[in-house]
Amino acid sequence: MIEALQYDFVRNALLAGLLASVACGVIGTYVVVKKIVFMSGGISHASLGGIGIGQFLGINPLLGAFFYTLASAIGMGVVVRRTKLPEDVTIGALWVLGMALGVIFHDLAPGTVPGLPSYLFGDLSLTSSSDLILMAALDAVIILTVSLLYKEFLILSFDEEFGESVGAPMEKSYLVLLCLIALSVVVMVRVMGVILVIALLALPVATGWQFTHSLKKLMLFSILLGLISTTLGIGLWYEFNLASGPAIVLVSIPLFALSFLFARLRRRRVE
């Protein structure tokens, strides 16, 4: 395993795993405590539209995903907030629209482009250094925004009604949070693929939640657990030539199950 580090593509893969873990820990925490996992699933699946459009236009598909995913996140948020359309229907519609556009534009793309499974389930061998730069920049935006809006996101997650009463901009905060989810999707898509992004957004946080009652600690634990899952998953990807997203899920689920059992045992001992 150690000698694998001499290869650029392995180092890139591990770096991509680290960058994805940061987004997972910080944004995944809000996704889980505010219970918007389904909304986040919609945003991540919709990103396939941007990937297809990127391939069609001959630009970096992650850049295509960046613009398209931001737009569909804002679209979902505005429709859910401002209209009476049912939330699940709205999310579902934009979810399938993104996937349909992704497949169509992928088929229309000129020349040979990587197949869709690479984007559906993650393919670390495609990670380029420009991808890594984009991912690092998005992580920086995520961390900066969360540190500026920490108060607002906390009130938004816990008690919007009270937030409104003290004049906190709840709708704007909600839309900004959805945009940050869109950015995290772009950060994670190389590693996890659009279908499995949600696993890395939710599972490390759900695992970490068994061990702390502090939001900040939960973010740190989740980054750490994300890093453990992605690194082990990347090991499996390298050794056995598995798709990286499924390999990481295979690691994350047992970690979650173990933490759940551990927390139950500890609770029983306390009682």
């Binding site: 809006l149 108060k151 009270f162 009463s165 004049g167 009652h213 502090s214």
Partner: protein, 251 residues
Amino acid sequence: MLKEIVRLEDVSVRYDGIVVLEDINLSVYEDDFLGIIGPNGGGKTTLLKTILGLVKPSQGRVSVLGNPPNKARRLMGYVPQYNLFDRDFPLSALEVVLMGRYGQVGLFKRYSREDKKLALNALAEVGMLELKHRQIGSLSGGEQQRIFIARALVAHPQILLLDEPTASIDTPMQAGLYELLSELKRRMAIVLVSHDISAVSIYVDKIACLNRRLFYHGDKELEARELEEAYQCPVDMIAHGVPHRVLREHR
């Protein structure tokens, strides 16, 4: 002259063409402890939200110390109806109370040491200082309600608005909570809405009855006819701490 804190003039509120509040006239003065009772769906929560400026009246005027409500949010402390947050929500009692300083701190900035001191004072005032580091969901319903009152108090409001504060609490804890409110009323006006007539009427100084329209005479007496009109059914009522049945029984 007592200071008038809140004034509603001919206020009506419609949602999707349905009239929720109609021609409400109400003045709340600085020493008032007003209980507003009424059936579920009678517009109680909407009335509080209208005073807070979260719901815009379709007609009429709301003023809080002479200002439109959205300019006067800092003068009002709100204790929303008990909401079912996740019992494991990773947040301590102290962090919940700090949220109450939001209006004073504002966008992008962090809570200061001074804010934290004020939050600890507010926790002490509601008798919850020792539980400051406890996770909010691990507290009992009554303890949580005190934390939420502390969160409203920490901004030093001139009026406290409480929505069904006793709904999630067992009876012995309810008495303690009303005693806390009786202490607080020396410093601020209090308006609380509830569907529980008997509990409210023992502690509050004034009672109004709300079912789309407001029945209120600035005192604790309500005529049976008005209650019946508001609830559209016979009601048990306790006045001045002396329980007596004022209306005929349900059949």
